[in-house]
Symmetry: C2
Subunit: 433 residues, 2 copies
């Protein structure tokens, strides 16, 4: 048989899609309860918007099939690779119609033309939460976002999450204080720490940037700090590096950590200066969250503060955002059937009843029963053709429908609960599952 | 200021997105209550799948930005232009894991590289409902789909919809009976009837296909038939054309119309043989629905029966589907603010309370109140910084938040309803809006 699947473009079976939908609905409900409003942006952006920031992303560009010219209008557009860049554009475009600080959520697919790799998708859902302010964005929001994510995680009963915090000002200020000039290259190399280990990073820093051993050692020492309280302050200070930017970054971190503690978030976060989110557009706090018992899955949530993605006239529009990678999480757990957290209770089973069709002439009567049930919020379907009752019940089982309904010409209708075999009298106006 | 909008790619403001989301949620709920399960397909398909059927669609093909070769893997893929073709592929691919007749709904965006035109979009949502069976699909489903759409329409209190019905076998059988050989060309020309009128169509049929006047007249007479009952049978028969295929089509139409009548659908449909859905993949019943008071908007719902889109091994997989063009409807009504049907009652306002922040030191206390309300399903946010109460209340008004909450150091908290000015005592464990 023909192979229709396309590598990196996952598709779920209906039951899996129901689970995904249920999770997305619950996330959406929480976002809305907390005052975030929905935004949906078009799937494409002009290439200059996409390329402005985030230069390491593989972008899919569009071309009209029947367009044979080399440079066309459509050629200037690409599919978005994240939701932050389109959102920053959206806020600039509609600035006069929005209330600031503008708190929005956005749940959409994004596309990345990445190389094939285990657990990497080319099409996947992101659930983004961002706050963009006019001119000044209170540091408070840098604590609100992890707080939101942690609450959602608990609500969904997902496996334990550890939110790792770092700060680009701390990293850049630290390197400045060490006299490093090519800071972007240092960030880029240190970003590989988790993948290649400290020796290899030290070698790259030495070979490529010719940094002195003492500088390399300090960089690695900073990256080794782990702290679940304000103790990171002393640990950084003990490395003896000083700069204005470093101080600013540390003060920001301290405020964020203090705020998290005041919100009762102790134990859910960890300061980790190996987190750099190297080539992205972040300027302050950065986040990367891992499921503690499934670390090899990689970061399932990431984001940070960005001060330079958007401006309107004289106004700068600083923002902070976090993004949940729902597809990666689901893809992983769909392949691990023993995982408890994708249990059936996540899905609201709307379809409860299959009305048995004894004869084609009974269809209207059967449909009336189904309609009465539906009107009361009980999902009901009528079997598609007159066949043996056995066949009809087997279809109900295959579709996961818990009850079958037997119409009676005389006396009350009967409802059978398939799992238990219990059969009871019922009428469509009053019966409940 | 820079113009960021892209012609044909609509974007809504948050309030509009809330309305769209609410409508999509209600549609989804109805689909599920009636036994349809969700499917979501990837946004792209191999070009040979897309081009197999539906040859008149402008397809956007993908190319990786950093890929400079002429013929690449990515070049073989395009964005889907509808949800029927991807769904037929999905059913073939996953056939062994599905229960037939397979009833699915699918709500996703589709993309068409069409020429710019008023009311035409290049990116838009489709809400599709399809049933695909193995080998034999009961005609009943050709009545179920309009029944589903009509019920949803009523539920949403959308303006009155008229479902137009036709049948490709009737049209093709009729032309065959007239001795026409190039049936596809006749369909293509007759498809223009609504746009260019009967004289122009007669001219085209004569000029391009050299059809005799009597044949042209018969074709136009068939296209003029309108019937809201089984009377169409006599009207077609009175034209004196006969063929096997025509009889088969008329028998199908009669069954569908009878079934609709038995479901109480009189007055919601109209038989109209000018509906051909010319170049599409349909083989039997075809649908086009118009809002009676907004006909110039064009068809907002269309579809039909397709027997040849999918097969697996020895099994043919016939299907029937209907597609709602939600974006077109919303785009139209968002530009007509006097339209009642987009009234606020469609949107569940989850965010009810803004907790006033007297001082930064009160933030944790304020957040606790918000969390208590959220836990009871009442949306609540805390103002982002300590400012005058006046400013805080004005922001609540701008965000459409009906209540503001004042914490009190001594005595009970106070809640003010902004619209009425009423202020009452409240505590976060018991208060309801």
């Amino acid at each position: 048989m023909k192979n229709y699947s396309i590598s990196g473009f996952p598709e779920w079976l209906p039951r899996q899609k129901q689970i995904e939908q249920s999770i997305l609905d619950q996330i959406r409900e929480q976002f809305e309860l907390c005052g975030y409003v929905p935004v949906e942006t078009r799937a494409i952006e002009p290439l200059d918007v996409l390329l402005h920031k985030g230069d390491d992303k593989e972008i899919y560009v569009l071309k009209r099939l029947h367009d044979n010219t080399d440079s066309t209008e459509a050629d200037r557009f690409g599919l978005h690779f994240d939701l932050t860049v389109p959102f920053a554009r959206y806020v600039q475009q509609h600035e006069s119609k929005l209330v600031f600080p503008f708190k929005r959520y956005q749940i959409q697919k994004v596309w990345r033309g990445e190389r094939k790799q285990e657990g990497r998708y080319r099409e996947f859902y992101q659930c983004d939460l961002d706050v963009i302010a006019k001119d000044k964005l209170p540091l408070y929001f840098e604590a609100e976002l992890p707080f939101m994510v942690m609450n959602i995680w608990q609500k969904l009963a997902f496996p334990r999450l550890l939110m790792k915090l770092s700060n680009r000002k701390v990293l850049q200020g630290f390197y400045q204080g060490l006299g490093v000039t090519d800071i972007i290259s240092v960030l880029r190399i240190l970003d590989k720490l988790a993948k290649v280990g400290p020796e290899q990073v030290a070698k790259l820093l030495s070979d490529e940037l010719a940094l002195p051993a003492v500088v390399i050692e300090a960089c690695l020492s900073l990256a080794e700090i782990r702290s679940n309280s304000r103790s990171f302050m002393e640990e950084v200070e003990s490395l003896g590096v000083k700069s204005e930017l470093l101080n600013q970054g540390l003060a920001e971190m301290q405020t964020v950590v203090q705020t998290l503690d005041s919100m009762g978030m102790q134990g859910t976060y960890e300061v980790d200066f190996s987190i750099a989110r190297g080539l992205d557009y972040y300027t302050g706090t950065v986040y990367e969250a891992y499921m503690s018992d499934h670390q090899h899955l990689g970061a399932v949530c990431s984001g940070g503060r960005y001060d330079k993605l958007a401006r309107v006239g004289q106004h700068n529009l600083p923002g902070v955002g976090l993004s949940l990678g729902i597809t990666r999480i689901l893809g992983y757990f769909f392949n691990q059937p023993d995982q408890k957290f994708l249990a059936d209770h996540l899905v609201e089973q709307r379809l409860q009843v299959l009305v048995v069709l004894p004869d084609e002439s009974d269809r209207v009567a059967a449909l009336k029963i189904a309609c009465k049930l539906r009107a009361r919020g009980i999902g009901a379907d009528v079997y598609h053709q007159a066949q043996s009752f056995g066949k009809q019940m087997r279809q109900a089982e295959k579709r996961g429908i818990p009850y079958v309904w037997f119409m009676q010409e005389q006396g009350s209708d009967q409802v059978k609960h398939l799992a238990s075999g219990t059969q009871t009298e019922a009428d469509a106006e009053h019966w409940v599952p």
